[in-house]
Amino acid sequence: MDVGLLLSEIILAGAAGGLLLAEAFVPRLAKRRGMLLLATMSLVASAIVLVPRAGATATSFSGAFIVDGFTVYFKLLLLAATFLVLLGSGRFLDEVEDRQAESIALVLLATAALMLLVSATELITLYISLEMAGLSFAFLAAWHKHSDRSIEAGLKFFLLNALSSAVLLYGMAILYGITGETQLDAIAGNLASAPTPALLLSVSFLLAGFGFKVSAVPFQMWTPDVYEGAPTPITAYLSVASKAAGFAIVIRVLQTALPSAQQEWMTLVALLAAVTMTVGNVVALIQTNIKRMLAYSTIAQAGYILVGIAAGTDQGLAAVLFYLAAYTATNLAAFTAVIEISGRTNSERIADFAGLHQRSPWLAFALAVSLLSLAGLPPLAGFFAKIYVFWAAIQSGLVWLVLLGVLNSAISLYYYAQVIHDMYMVPGREAAPTRAMPPLAAALTITVVGVFGLGILSSFFMGAAEAAARTLSQ
């Protein structure tokens, strides 16, 4: 039993515990800057511990826990996302002044939970990590507990999350009944070569449960409400970290445990992908609140990512991995810009972004770049991500799905461009330009550079994604 494999998660949990203890016993020392420093240091330390593990596959805890290229890829993505979210959370932490330590600690614990989830290769471990992450998110969504909207978001997330895990659990129970196993690879070993109706029922329930995590239609309905109501940094965190881990576990379960039903799950995922991207884009067209619009946009993005999973090949997986990296950078750039913009104007209405270009050119530029990347315009990250995913799908014969995807991208350009149009073309009211807090500015710069870098140097990052995807299929 190699506890060392868990070190990166232990560091985060330890830092969270340290924060709570510091706040309880030496409140004078627990200043925001110090706490953020500790948190980011723990993230960095965790990443440093992880990187050397990328080369080899190691399992521990009776095969319940795995560290390989695939998990390291996702964990580094999660750590980077958490790091950037923390950088951009200054305003949020000001607003929850009396519970700063708990806020940061919960984010760290949620990250640890997602990292455990990514590494879980056994159903019980998977379930309990998932619940730990879900409960953290429910709290974080409700963290502005004096705000009607935040607490409503928390309630909705909590209830639907509980239901989704119930369905997931039912699917796991059936899978356990069929195979008598909870280890993913043992499940695959015990499955008959042809799927039975019971297995398909289980697969459907599992997909529904995971569909909730990744916001696939029709399991996505919590997404816009929670994204709108939750504190914006938490929304940013949910939209990237939770989603990335959700996709990681979908891929892990489908690939490792259910290869015998591959033909069936490919059909189901393709169906989900088609519905998800279409509904996401079409409803995004008529949104007036930027966070809601971005929520529907993330739903649409989940649809594109599902296209890559539906391809069912190594190439599709690599494309999904790359897509998630591109998506993380892009969405974080967008949300970080939105945090700052809406914080200044005290409004999340898209109409109030008018003339932003004059007031804060850098913010407007960052938001415009991220939106164009989401729309999939070259040479930004989103463009290459879409190319890779669509190409993999074409190679698997899913031409109809790719055509739908391209049509959807065209539709999406409309609402993304609308925001840019408002920012650049519509004169806005005068407001004194203010300076963003340095950490937030840094987060914004890093993400925008990422959006360009992942695009222009896509082949380099795609190479990493391919290597990570290969470790899974071995």
Binding site: F61, S62, I174
Partner: protein, 169 residues
């Protein structure tokens, strides 16, 4: 007259199962939330009985201790902390309630039909009745030590969050 063991088991199972389902249905029908809570207790306790019959004695104990002992108390506290008109409103709008019932029925039909038609390879005629407590205890600290440890952190998360969200300030 010797009543066959099988019959005893069957009688117990049906009794507990009926009580569990009746409790669950009554939970929905009850107009008073405190009554709902009591029916929930009935369902949970009956489920514990089913566990015993299915050979899960340790689990039955856990069910009674945690569910009936802890969760029910928690729910009752919750009910008392949110005083309101406990009688009304009861069900959702008819449309919501009926469509909900239809979907629930569909879930039942689909899962029951699938599970009943399936071939469960190598199932025993009757549940094994070895003592499970020790086995489960050992496996919790060997095979499943990781989820066990994660569960402890999960409780930490629940504790921090609940304190922060539910406290007055």
């Amino acid at each position: 007259m010797v009543i066959p063991m099988e019959l005893l088991v069957a009688g117990g199972f049906y009794t507990f199962a009926a009580a569990a389902i009746a409790g669950a249905i009554s939970l929905i029908i009850a107009r008073n939330v405190f009554h709902s809570a009591l029916f929930l207790t009935l369902t949970l306790a009956s489920a514990g009985g089913v566990f015993v019959i299915l050979g899960a004695d340790f689990l039955a104990a856990v069910q009674l201790l945690i569910y009936v002992g802890a969760v029910m108390i928690l729910i009752l506290f919750g009910l008392m902390l949110t005083p309101q008109d406990v009688e009304l409103p009861n069900l959702s709008t008819p449309g919501q309630a009926i469509s909900g019932a239809i979907v629930a029925a569909a879930i039942f039909v689909v899962s029951a039909a699938t599970l009943l038609s399936a071939q469960w390879s190598g199932t025993a005629a009757e549940p094994s009745d070895v003592a499970t407590t020790e086995q489960i205890g050992v496996s919790l600290f060997t095979t499943f030590v990781l989820p066990f440890e994660i569960a402890s952190v999960l409780f930490l998360v629940a504790m921090i969050g609940a304190i922060v969200i539910a406290r007055e300030r």
